[in-house]
Amino acid sequence: MNITVRFFGLVAEVAGSSSAELTDIADCNSLIEKLNTDFPKLNNCQYSVAVNKIIATENINLNDGDEVALLPPFAGG
């Protein structure tokens, strides 16, 4: 199974990329763990996680085709 990860704002800058494709990730926690290994600077970053455009407030199981976004603090308006 494939998961698309998208990075925004400061997070994209720190990751040095705006997206990543990951395979065989069971849930959000494993995904964060994997990203912290691939992009060590993310450890120091403040962000919230959205799964399919909905903010995840707890660990969520991931399915094939899910889009996960790492969102730094909002600054609209």
Partner: protein, 158 residues
Amino acid sequence: MDKTLSTEISMSEKKKYKVFVSGAISTQFIADSIAKHSTKTTIGAHDIFLGQVRSDVIENKTVKAIDYSAYEEMAEEKFHEIREAAFTKFELTCMHLYHSMGIVKTGEICLFVFVSAKHRTAAFEACRWITEEIKANVPVFGKEIFEDETYAWKVNTK
């Protein structure tokens, strides 16, 4: 068959209100938006919130612009949710939301929340509620660009 399908698509696209505009929101655009409501004569009250880019000084450096980006697909969904919720919560005649993407210089307008109602209480309450919802829940990011071309990522306050 083709014709039916394309009509359906265009109707569903029409539902999704386009909020993001490129660059600053002009005062002429705001004036035209207000003027369009002169035919809606059940309206007694408009409340308009405008966000303007401040020349904040951060560690001795002065902001000259904000470069806005967004998780646009999620942001448009959030704007849509906020719209629907506001129409349910408040007795409104109409509502228009616009937010800048890209560079907006200090002194320019980056957010335009426009709410119209029969009576003022609904307009005031809705405009404030919508603005707070946008600030809290819409994934928009702002890079504050200083006069020396360095930058910092903005975090919202009240």
